[in-house]
Structures are given as structure tokens and as C-alpha cells.
């Protein structure tokens, strides 16, 4: 069942159904992400790709099926939800930085309150990750004083400060001005090269080609097609996937 060489599944989704009222966002959804694997999910809007990542860290609750993250099944038990959230980082389209806190405080809040780190340790860790996303000099600023690209890099650093085993990205560059997209993608590529397990919802096909082990094309809450980026780009077998790729690649 596991098709990745490192063998151990970081995320397993088996027969997951998810409804919003009468609308079924995910239909009998199955996906496995191995440790260290990078999966890129693409598809038209409303296809359920955001729902997949939001279910993985329990921002949404699924109705049927099983989601297992890092060996823990997601149930209503508060313990399981908190266990999972501690291991799974999430980067949002709208950054969702805390506007009333400085960049440094944004990074230290989780480690101090949820992980019980001392201020000194949390500060140290925060500076380390700000260094990694290449904005160590912005620590004392408020998010509103930063550009969109910088804000998203802070958001990535904030997730990394929790030292997660898996990183989820929900359209991380969709709200950015074009000239800021590459600075965020560069950070994500570096993260991928360091072996982080990643699930990325994005339409950045250059990024997908560069780092993805597997590409998943979704439509109407289902996986229409999946495989290596080369296969999907050069030889998509489904007509829907062909049409979608031709639309986003022609520009």
C-alpha cells in the first residue's frame, strides 16, 4: 500500500467523506503520504483540495472514514486532536499572522504556551527559524509592517517553531503579488530538500515539478488522477486533468 521508499506513512486517509451541509466536499477520499514525501494537490476551485489539508489537522471534522496522522487516528477526543496539531504545521493562504503581536511574539507564542518552552529557549528557536526564512532583521516589527512575501515567510517560520513532522500548505502563494511568490517558494523548496514531509495545495506548477514526489489532481471531491509530476504534465490520462493543466499552463 505504501509506495514510498521510506516506507512509513506520515498521513493515511482511508475512505474519507466530508459534507458541508448538503454539499459533499470529499467523496470516499483515499491518500497516503509517506514520511519525507512531498505531495502537491491541484485542481479547480471547489474541488476539495483545501478541505483535504484542513481535515488532516482537524480544522474540519470528517464524517466517515479514517484519518491517521503519525500513527494517531483523528477522533473527537481532544487528546488526539492536540497530539496531531502539535505534529502538523499549517501555512494559510491569508498568512493569518497575529496582528497585535510582533514577529518574534508570533513565533514564540505556540512554543511557550503549548510546548512549555522558556522565553529564552523560545526566542532562540524563533531567531533560528527567522534566519532560515531569511528575515532575521524583522523580529521586532508588527506583521502589518512587512510585505506579503515576508509575512508568509514569517508564517512558515511560525509553523516550523513547533518543529512539526508534517507541513501543510494551503495555497501559500495565491494571495501574494507576483514578484513575491518566488521568495516564498524558495523557502519551501529548501524545506523540501531538507526532507520535510509536505502536502501542498498550489497551482505553482514549476514548484510541483521541482519538488513533488507525487501530484494529485482533484475534482468534485475526488482524486481524478495521481502520479509523478512528469507523467501528469506530459501525459495526463483523464480529459478533465488535460483541460485543467492546459488552462493554467498556457499563461
Amino acid at each position: 500500500m505504501l509506495d514510498h521508499p521510506s516506507g512509513y506513512a506520515a498521513i493515511k486517509m482511508i475512505g474519507v467523506d466530508k459534507w458541508y451541509g448538503d454539499f459533499q466536499a470529499l467523496k470516499n477520499f483515499n491518500m497516503t503520504v509517506g514520511t519525507g514525501e512531498k505531495v502537491v494537490i491541484c485542481g479547480p476551485s471547489g474541488s476539495g483540495k483545501s478541505t483535504v489539508v484542513r481535515c488532516i489537522n482537524r480544522l474540519e471534522t470528517h464524517q466517515n472514514g479514517k484519518i491517521v496522522v503519525d500513527g494517531v487516528e483523528l477522533t473527537d477526543a481532544r487528546k488526539s486532536v492536540q497530539d496531531i496539531r502539535a505534529e502538523v504545521g499549517m501555512v494559510f493562504q491569508q498568512f493569518n499572522l497575529f496582528p497585535h503581536l510582533t514577529v518574534l511574539e508570533n513565533l514564540t507564542l505556540g512554543p511557550m504556551k503549548a510546548r512549555g518552552l522558556s522565553r529564552k529557549d523560545a526566542d532562540e528557536r524563533a531567531h533560528h527559524y527567522l534566519e532560515r526564512v531569511k528575515i532575521p532583521e524583522q523580529a521586532a516589527k508588527k506583521p502589518a509592517q512587512l510585505s506579503g512575501g515576508q509575512q508568509q515567510r514569517v508564517a512558515i517560520a511560525r509553523s516550523l517553531c513547533m518543529e512539526p513532522k508534517v507541513m501543510l500548505f494551503d495555497e501559500p502563494t495565491s494571495a501574494l503579488d507576483p514578484e513575491m511568490i518566488s521568495e516564498v517558494l524558495d523557502v519551501m523548496v529548501e524545506l523540501a530538500l531538507e526532507g520535510m514531509t509536505m502536502v501542498v495545495v498550489t497551482h505553482e506548477m514549476g514548484f510541483a515539478r521541482k519538488v513533488a514526489d507525487k501530484m494529485v489532481f482533484m475534482d468534485m471531491g475526488e482524486i481524478v488522477e495521481q502520479g509523478s509530476p512528469e507523467k501528469l504534465f506530459s501525459n495526463p490520462s483523464s480529459e478533465r486533468c488535460q483541460r485543467f493543466l492546459s488552462q493554467i499552463l498556457q499563461h
Partner: protein, 252 residues
């Protein structure tokens, strides 16, 4: 001060065309009796401030306790919130005041308790409960206007619900909550005038008593209006100072 002077001018001009004459002497500080009257009127200030302050603090606390179930995803918690808000805010202040002052001791008595309620606490309890329904709605609006993404981001860095409220939602909501809350406080100060009907010696009670002995209601109530105006202007200035402090270094 310009406001007050302008107001006085308006009253005087209006008085010229009136058929009855003015009797400003009752509150003329240059005469002994006038000065005594003014001191008598102003001496109610302490009670008005004390009643309003304690009622406001209680209202802020009760409001928070009523709001939190209103934010729950479970309907039975939300229903408690809706019931409280809809019922309390529809009861007029005066009957509620009578109920608290005359009714509560009777209820206590039937339960075998002997808890007297004096005018001071009767007024405070009534104002606090009546206002808490509005405070609760202000909190709810403030908290719900914080984008959902903020709560989600807090959850993804491992914060639990109380931590999310305390470190992420409330610090942001307080800036939105403060101006309408100040409005409510001003409302409480003015509504505290109702305490006069159960015998509380505050600003309005003092004015009423002086009116009975001096027969100069317009002049005495004019001073009463000025007294409330001064109180409210002081509160407004205080709130503006607080707002500036809270938003320091926020967004440009």
C-alpha cells in the same frame, strides 16, 4: 467649557421669550443660599460615580460570562445566551428596579433568608444586570469580528481554547469592544438617575429634593444636566486616552 457656556447662553435667550421669569438666584454661587444649594446638589456626585462604577464593573464581568456560551457551537449553550439577552434587555429599568428593591427581599424571605437590599445595592444590581445584556452583545460582536483564520492559526500552533481566547482573540477584540463599552458606561451613568426613586441620595435625588423646597425646577435641573455633562465629558476623555494607549504601535 465652550459647550457649557454655549448651553447657558441658549437657556438665557430662550428664557427671554418665556412668560414666566427665571430664578437663577437659587444656584447663584455669589449668594450664601445659592452656594449652599450648589454644594447640596453636587454632594450627590460621589454616589452617582460609585454606583455607576461598581455597576459597570459587574456588568462587564456578567456580560463576559453570558457571552462565552453564546459563542459555543452547541445549541443548548447558545440558547442560554439568547434567552438571557432577549429577556433582560427587554425589561424596562424602572420596573426592574422595583422588582430588585421590593421583590427580591420577599423572594429571599420566602426562602427563609433575611437579606435586606438597600437602595445603594438595589440600584447597582439593577443597573449591572440590565446593562449586562447589552455588554454581552458588544462582546459577541467584537469577538465574532475577529477573522476565523486567527482562531485556526492559534489552533495550529497548539493553543487550546482558553489560550486562544486569552492570547489571540480577546487582545484583538478589546480594541473593537472598547468604544461601544464606553458608550454603555455613559448610559449607566445617566440611568443611575433612576436610583433616586428608591431613595438613593445621588445627583438626581438631590435635585428632586431641592426642587420640592425651592420651586425652581428648570434652574435646578439645568445644573443637574451640567453635572451629568461634566461626568460624561470626563469619561469620554478617559476612554480616548485608553484607546490611544491600546492602539500604540499597532497598524499605520
Amino acid at each position: 467649557m465652550r459647550h457649557i457656556a454655549g448651553f447657558m447662553v441658549l437657556l438665557t435667550v430662550a428664557g427671554c421669550s418665556s412668560s414666566t421669569s427665571w430664578g437663577w438666584y437659587v444656584i447663584d454661587p455669589r449668594t450664601t443660599s445659592g452656594w449652599i444649594n450648589i454644594k447640596f446638589l453636587i454632594s450627590g456626585m460621589g454616589s452617582t460615580i460609585l454606583i455607576s462604577l461598581i455597576a459597570a464593573v459587574l456588568s462587564i464581568l456578567i456580560g463576559l460570562v453570558v457571552t462565552l456560551p453564546g459563542l459555543s457551537t452547541r445549541w443548548y449553550w447558545r440558547i442560554f445566551n439568547r434567552f438571557y439577552v432577549e429577556i433582560i434587555r427587554s425589561i424596562p429599568l424602572l420596573p426592574m428596579l422595583f422588582w430588585v428593591f421590593y421583590g427580591l427581599p420577599l423572594i429571599f424571605k420566602s426562602m427563609g433568608l433575611n437579606i435586606p437590599i438597600d437602595p445603594f445595592w438595589g440600584a447597582i444590581i439593577t443597573l449591572a444586570i440590565s446593562d449586562s445584556a447589552f455588554t454581552a452583545e458588544i462582546y459577541r460582536a467584537g469577538i465574532q469580528s475577529i477573522p476565523k483564520g486567527q482562531v485556526e492559526a492559534a489552533q495550529t500552533v497548539g493553543l487550546n481554547y482558553p489560550q486562544t481566547m486569552r492570547y489571540v482573540v480577546l487582545p484583538q477584540a478589546i480594541r473593537l469592544i472598547l468604544p461601544p463599552l464606553a458608550n454603555q458606561f455613559i448610559y449607566i451613568v445617566k440611568m443611575s438617575a433612576f436610583a433616586s426613586v428608591i431613595g438613593m441620595q445621588e445627583l438626581t435625588r438631590r435635585a428632586n429634593e431641592l426642587v420640592v423646597s425651592e420651586y425652581r425646577p428648570l434652574e435646578i435641573y439645568s445644573l443637574l444636566i451640567v453635572e451629568y455633562l461634566v461626568l460624561v465629558l470626563i469619561i469620554s476623555a478617559g476612554v480616548r486616552w485608553l484607546e490611544r494607549r491600546l492602539s500604540r504601535g499597532e497598524r499605520q
